[in-house]
């Protein structure tokens, strides 16, 4: 029960952060004219929508009495985390190699963090597809 409350609090915090980021991006309309920033903005929106979907799914599962994590989901998280970490190292190497292509440092770091987060979700999907059998 305590875990469920913590998850809900973490998810609400996540939504608030996403919402604030969205407001910030939309307010600075001139930023949206830049191609890379437009890509990042749409990426943030996608993550926000996915977060809302995950929240409802998790909430529904909790109400049906399913545990939040079990041995398989933990295995998936560990494996996906390792894969995402390795991929992120190459990503940051590429980002620093092409650092002069970015309009500013904020876009570079922000974009890198967002892509790292996306890498984790992609890895999770791959690990789920592969299974362990």
């Amino acid at each position: 029960m305590k875990n469920a409350k913590l998850t809900t609090a973490a998810l609400i915090t996540f939504f608030v952060v996403i919402l604030l980021l969205l407001i910030l991006v939309i307010k600075k309309e001139n930023i949206l004219q830049n191609g890379l920033d437009l890509f990042i903005s749409s990426f943030v929106v996608t993550i926000g929508i996915s977060a809302i979907y995950i929240y409802y799914k998790k909430n529904k599962e909790q109400r049906s009495g399913e545990p939040e994590d079990d041995e398989m989901t933990l295995m998936i998280k560990y494996k996906a985390g390792y894969k995402a970490y390795m991929a992120s190292m190459y990503l940051w190497l590429l980002i620093f190699l092409f650092r002069d292509k970015f309009p500013n440092i904020e876009t570079m770091v922000g974009g890198g963090i967002l892509v790292s987060a996306a890498l984790f979700f992609i890895s999770k999907h791959i690990v789920k597809k592969e299974g362990n059998a």
Partner: protein
Amino acid sequence: MHNRIRELRARDNLTQLNLAKKVNVRRETIVFLEKGKYNPSLKLAHGIATVFNLTIEEVFIFDD
């Protein structure tokens, strides 16, 4: 390795969610087990076998 979870569930009239609750895992894990995409731990295999009143070897069949 393959297993008889789906068949035994049908025999005992259990849904995936019911079985998942009995062995304290997520329904998703039962789905993966039935598809043969996940090899359970000894603890989970024992738990599932106990639900069906069978031994681990009778539920999980090891292919040569």
